[in-house]
């Protein structure tokens, strides 16, 4: 009997409820994780294939990413990008290597944790649960900084040199998402899915939200601005071109305790 990855995994439309993503060219990993966690698993043999399909997926409970993938791809190459897709989803790197350097690269590259083969049931569950708990604990205490603005996600407090204002939880999450994008374009489709998930939101409603956030940023900041790119999406950027050079220096930082 032929095991065909395309036929053994569920269709994307069926990924309702709890599900995991496994990016590994070893088919037994996906099957094992499916059995261990007792959830639907959507598997890819390369990270490039996952990235292609990512827009069609909603947030999984976890992503398991192997280091050595099909066609010579290295899971660590796209790790940082993958870890930013769904901030509440832990990315756990799977490795068959005992090399400390690879583990260091994985954690430094944005992985929440790592797991070595053999995949043991207790360890897979524990690593995933622990990572999810850690994210939940820190997400409410998150501080985001960009240019001269400072956003406290827990309280929705936005501060800058010109003053401070308070945002609704959704507006604060939206602004945090823009900050995490580090100056890159965020499409409206992505914003809707990230903030509202399956709930249908009109473009007008989203535009109103962006208007409110833009106004709040303008009131407190002299350096940051939210810019709409017609038909493409939104960016949070520095006003001055020279300041744009500093964008890479801006990072969303997490403070575990305040």
């Amino acid at each position: 009997m032929s095991i065909d990855r395309k036929n053994t995994q569920p269709a994307i439309v069926e990924t309702e409820g709890l599900y995991c993503i496994v990016i590994d060219d070893d088919l037994t990993s996906a099957k094992l994780i499916e059995g261990i966690l007792n959830v639907v698993v959507f598997s890819f043999d390369r990270s490039s294939k996952f990235i292609e399909k990512r827009e069609q997926l909603k947030s999984p409970i976890g992503i398991f990413l192997d280091v050595h993938l099909a066609e010579g791809e290295c899971g660590l190459d796209e790790l940082n990008k993958i870890a930013q897709y769904w901030p509440k989803t832990p990315v756990i790197v799977i490795t068959g290597d005992t090399d400390d350097e690879i583990i260091g690269q994985a954690l430094g590259g944005g992985a929440h944790d790592f797991i070595s083969k053999p995949l043991r049931a207790g360890e897979v569950r524990a690593r995933l649960n622990f990572s999810r708990k850690k994210i939940e604990e820190t997400i409410d205490n998150r501080i985001f900084e960009f240019a001269d603005i400072h956003l406290d996600l827990k309280y929705g407090r936005l501060k800058g040199p010109k003053g401070e204002s308070y945002l609704s939880h959704t507006d604060a999450e939206l602004l945090a998402h823009f900050i995490s994008a580090c100056g890159t374009l965020v499409s409206k489709t992505e914003i809707k899915r990230y903030i509202w998930g399956e709930i249908k939101i009109s473009d007008n409603a989203l535009d109103r939200k962006i208007f409110e956030i833009r106004k709040a940023v303008r009131e407190v900041s002299g350096k940051a601005e939210i810019k709409s790119h017609y038909g493409k999406g939104i960016t949070l950027q520095r006003k001055s071109h020279n300041d744009d050079q500093l964008i890479l220096a801006d990072k969303a930082i997490q403070l575990v305790s305040r």
Partner: protein, 135 residues
């Protein structure tokens, strides 16, 4: 033949525990593993002459899956294959591959005896149906 180190008991027990809440899991897992490993061994065999780097990559994958299946002895053979390089003599590759094939057979036979009976019958039936379709 000493079967002591063919299987890592605690890992296989873990896998069988999953079967308790997911009937048919163990047999399906073995089937996926078996197909993947046979394909991998064939690929390695075809690459021996060229000593292509892909040999190490395939051996690495098979090592990981074999460890996860609790097949310790086989995993160690794949580990040896993974450590080969351009200077490895072709006869050493052949010896390692032969040992891997024999150990794979032994390991799978052993694993298959552990498939819960109801699942085993179901699987045998399904295989025979697939074979009928395939011919």
């Amino acid at each position: 033949m000493n079967h002591e180190d063919l299987l890592e008991k605690s890992i296989v027990e873990d896998l069988l525990r999953i079967e308790d809440h997911k009937k048919g899991f163990f047999a399906e897992l073995i089937q996926i593993y078996e197909q993947q490993t046979i394909e991998g061994l064939k690929k390695i065999h075809s690459l021996v002459e060229s000593k292509d780097y892909a040999i190490q990559a395939i051996a690495h994958k098979l090592k990981g899956s074999s460890f996860s299946m609790g097949l310790t002895r086989l995993a160690k053979l794949f580990q040896e294959l993974e450590s080969t390089n351009k200077s490895t003599k072709p006869e050493n590759f052949v010896d390692l591959l032969d040992s891997a094939k024999i150990t794979l057979d032994q390991s799978l036979n052993k694993l298959k005896t552990l498939i819960p009976q109801s699942t085993s019958r179901h699987n045998t039936l399904r295989n025979s149906i697939d074979l009928d379709i395939g011919t």
